[in-house]
């Protein structure tokens, strides 16, 4: 991948590395391969990805799972004849006193709202492209927002947090996993799958081409 003479710049045929500012002539790699920045190694285009319909299916699945996991029984505990049952929403809002409420707000966003919003945005953007319809009116803003929200969706971090908490509790009490627990494990796995197999550049190109 190299650049033609500087005098014949057609910016639409170039791709830039957003991480180190190198410019390349965009050349779509063969199926199963990916194009990375030669200088800093940032992945630019990937053909090892899933097709749009798989991403769409994954997004719908994750969205449905997050919404239903919110209210279903998550975990229950039993010790010395006493028991307690909690939902995911109970866990996310367990900071109740004074300013600690802010932590509850952060948690509701990080583990429930942002994952659900991101998936809804991806469905909104990808569904029309997949069915050959013109892109939705705010597709550009929606896809950009979905990308910016990515680091703040912390479902998989929460799953590992569950594992740590369970190790701590298992000595003193008996635990039972509810349906929401398994749904959330699925949410984390599917989200990692869909994020690592989605090529941003391909979708941007599709949005640009269909406009």
């Amino acid at each position: 991948m190299d650049i033609d003479s500087r005098h014949t710049i057609d910016a639409s045929r170039l791709i830039g590395c957003p991480k180190c500012d190198k410019v390349y002539k965009a050349r779509i790699p063969g199926p199963g391969q990916h194009a990375s920045c030669v200088r800093c190694g940032t992945k630019l285009i990937s053909r090892r990805n899933l097709v749009g319909s798989s991403i769409l299916a994954l997004s719908i699945a994750v969205f449905v799972l997050v919404v239903s996991a919110t209210f279903a029984p998550f975990l229950s505990i039993e010790a010395a004849g006493l028991s307690n049952k909690v939902s995911l929403l109970n866990v996310a809002t367990s900071f109740r006193s004074g300013v600690l409420i802010l932590v509850s707000v952060t948690m509701v966003f990080a583990i429930l709202a942002i994952p659900a919003i991101r998936m809804a945005l991806l469905i909104y953007v990808i569904a029309p492209l997949e069915f050959g319809l013109p892109p939705t009116r705010h597709a550009r803003t929606a896809f950009r927002l979905a990308d910016r929200l990515k680091p703040w969706a912390m479902a998989e971090v929460f799953s590992i947090g569950c594992a740590v908490a369970l190790v701590k509790v298992s000595d003193i009490a008996q635990l039972e996993f509810g349906a929401a627990f398994w749904m959330f494990v699925a949410v984390s796995t599917l989200m990692i799958l869909s994020d690592s197999y989605m090529c941003k550049w391909t979708i941007w190109q599709a949005i640009e081409d269909s406009q």
């Binding site: 190299d2 910016a11 006493l82 509790v169 941003k200 949005i207």
Partner: protein
């Protein structure tokens, strides 16, 4: 191989589309186009200082308050780990200390090092520093584990007189510290690491 700035172009940091340098907004994704945002390092330092300030009370105040039959016990992050170690679980104590002390401190040091090296125009180990930034960005969100564990324990362990767990004020300041270090790492413009490698050229004709 040339950089966009040397060619008088600008790359959209959101969608990787290349545009003529004078454009202000990406026509493909709508993101603001800026070749090298002038204030990016100031944002890095501002978030860094805020994160550090929040990290101090996160270590001084209790993270978790456990009430059992007769007594209340509050534990700071380090205190909790020491307590676990006293019970004999050296490895779990080590993991807790690593996740909530070693990693956060290492993140502060790493971001400060990156910002200072860029300010001095260093040309050493550009690849190493680029990878360091990637690592800091990747690890950042995982520090929230501590806050999540406190949330799960305080929601779950509510067994009236037998045992109950409540979150302490450190949970808030620790969460804030994590969020601000994430923002600090995200504000860092990695292009600045690579810029000093070549003398600046005048814009291409």
């Amino acid at each position: 191989m040339t950089t966009a700035r040397e060619m008088g172009l600008v790359i959209c940091t959101s969608c990787a589309r290349v545009w003529p340098g004078h454009l202000r907004r990406c026509a493909r994704c709508g993101h603001r186009l800026r070749s090298r945002p002038a204030a990016s390092l100031q944002w890095v330092w501002a978030f860094w200082v805020t994160g550090l300030v929040a990290y101090i009370p996160a270590n001084l105040y209790p993270m978790l308050v456990t009430s059992t039959f007769a007594r209340d016990q509050s534990n700071t992050i380090v205190g909790g780990a020491v307590e676990i170690a006293r019970h004999g679980d050296i490895w779990i104590a080590a993991i807790v200390l690593f996740a909530s002390v070693v990693i956060p401190v290492a993140k502060f040091v790493a971001i400060a090092y990156l910002a200072l090296s860029v300010q001095r125009g260093s040309i050493h180990s550009t690849h190493g520093r680029h990878r360091l930034h990637e690592t800091v960005e990747f690890i950042g969100r995982w520090s929230m584990i501590d806050v999540f564990v406190v949330a799960i324990l305080s929601a779950l362990v509510q067994l009236s007189s037998v045992a109950s767990v409540h979150p302490g004020p450190a949970a808030l300041t620790f969460a804030l510290s994590v969020i601000f270090t994430m923002l600090s790492a995200r504000s860092f413009d990695t292009r600045l690491i690579w810029d000093p490698l070549r003398p600046r050229h005048p814009r291409a004709a």
